[in-house]
Symmetry: C2
């Protein structure tokens, strides 16, 4: 870990959110150790049922941690937080097209927006590290690499799209621990969806991720793929709702809840 | 186990559903060993979002296994099944009042009904038995006892109501296994919500359950309480939607899916 990483790993969620609220921006991998990070997708109320149903039908990429009332920017996951300002970077979507990537969405907010906070695989990274699984992207000070796959999610009404995955290169002797530790946290994507040949998921080149950063692999590392909370963004791109706000990939909402709360035993 | 229990434990889900479709009725505890049973709640489409949100906000009592499209009586959990006929007994509700308790709902069905199939604690009973936890209600050929508690669920729009729990008396030396085995199946209620003094949940008398049967306890048994899929019925009673159809407590929908699929490791 770099000195910067060591520092932000010890920041409280409240301090990290205040930092981002003041306009700072950075990928949040490794921030606020032990606290749960979340993906954001906010849609107009008349798309909320299909979004929630899409999440229910695709629980591995879309484990829902909280849903707000329409127009509300507060969440039980972080009392005092403001969902419009406290993420490091947002994406604004109109009819499936990315129209802005600001550090707050005060000027884009609407009274009919329902926000979904969705579990993030960063949550189980500390458990992986604790079990001896090296985290290559953290060691290399990178965002985790993410890929759009050729696997379709189960649609819900007007919402459809491909599965998005995150990838971590894991040494063979650590694959068991990586599977076990993540499986025990089903509310934050759970066990991997696939490991090995990226071609089976329709990924042409591991060195060209669709989101996040390219990460160096050791020669015998096995690529391990987890379902990713960017999947709802891919559904927004594919399904073209009139309006949506999401986080920017890797730029998560840091909640006050503890990773350990998501562990089933 | 009685001979009847041994027999129905070996029936395929398809055979059990055909039996109920033909008009038979019985509590399904112990039926179709290894196959997942589900609670049913069907509500008009304009109550579907609040029902799904109620489930998301109360995942321990209401783990959603499938949601149908409006009017549909089929489910991915059991291809070929008919949700209107294949449960052993139903309850029909108008404005929160129980108006009928038939063995099919062909005459009550509506084109705007959205059906929710919710995980059932019967699913983890085989795992408990396999880990040496005695199942008193099965041994005594009873339905599991269920109780309305004084704990409120987190409301969702117009839907609110109390937590309902099932109770199994567990010998002290088996409590660890009971907690661990059920925790590994979060999609079917997961770990217990409470154990010990029933008064803490507002249960006045363990021998007078609100649903199901009274079960004999050994002197040193500890009452262990799991969140129960009858909770949505209690929400129907409390929140009074104009119309709803549910299963009768303990009279579950037997799906084709395997209990093992719900185990996280």
């Amino acid at each position: 870990m770099t000195r910067t990483q060591e520092r932000t790993a010890t920041w409280s969620p409240r301090r990290a959110r205040a930092h981002f609220r003041a306009g700072a921006s950075a990928p949040t991998a490794g921030w606020s150790r032990g606290h749960t990070q979340a993906n954001l997708i906010a849609v107009p109320a008349d798309w909320a049922y299909e979004t929630l149903l899409f999440c229910q039908r695709n629980p591995k990429p879309c484990p829902v941690l909280d849903v707000t009332d329409a127009g509300s920017w507060t969440t039980v996951l972080a009392p005092g937080a403001d969902l419009r300002t406290d993420l490091p970077r947002y994406r604004v979507w109109e009819h499936g097209e990315l129209t802005d990537e600001p550090t707050d969405v005060l000027g884009h907010w609407r009274g009919d927006l329902v926000s979904f906070l969705i579990g993030c695989s960063f949550t189980f990274e500390w458990a992986l590290a604790g079990a001896g699984v090296p985290l290559r992207h953290i060691d290399q000070n990178k965002n985790v690499p993410m890929y759009v796959t050729t696997r379709a999610c189960r649609p819900a009404g007007r919402l459809h799209g491909p599965l998005v995955v995150s990838m971590r290169p894991v040494p063979p002797d650590a694959v068991g621990a990586a599977i076990r530790e993540s499986a025990l946290m089903p509310a934050v994507h759970g066990s991997p969806v696939y490991l090995g040949d990226p071609g089976a998921l329709g990924i042409a080149d591991l060195d060209s991720p669709d989101f996040g950063d390219r990460v160096d692999r050791a020669p015998d590392d096995i690529p391990v793929f987890w379902a990713c909370g960017v999947t709802p963004q891919a559904a927004v791109m594919a399904s073209r709702p009139p309006f949506a706000i999401t986080h920017a990939p890797g730029h998560m909402f840091i909640t006050d809840t503890r990773d350990a709360q998501h562990r089933v035993t």
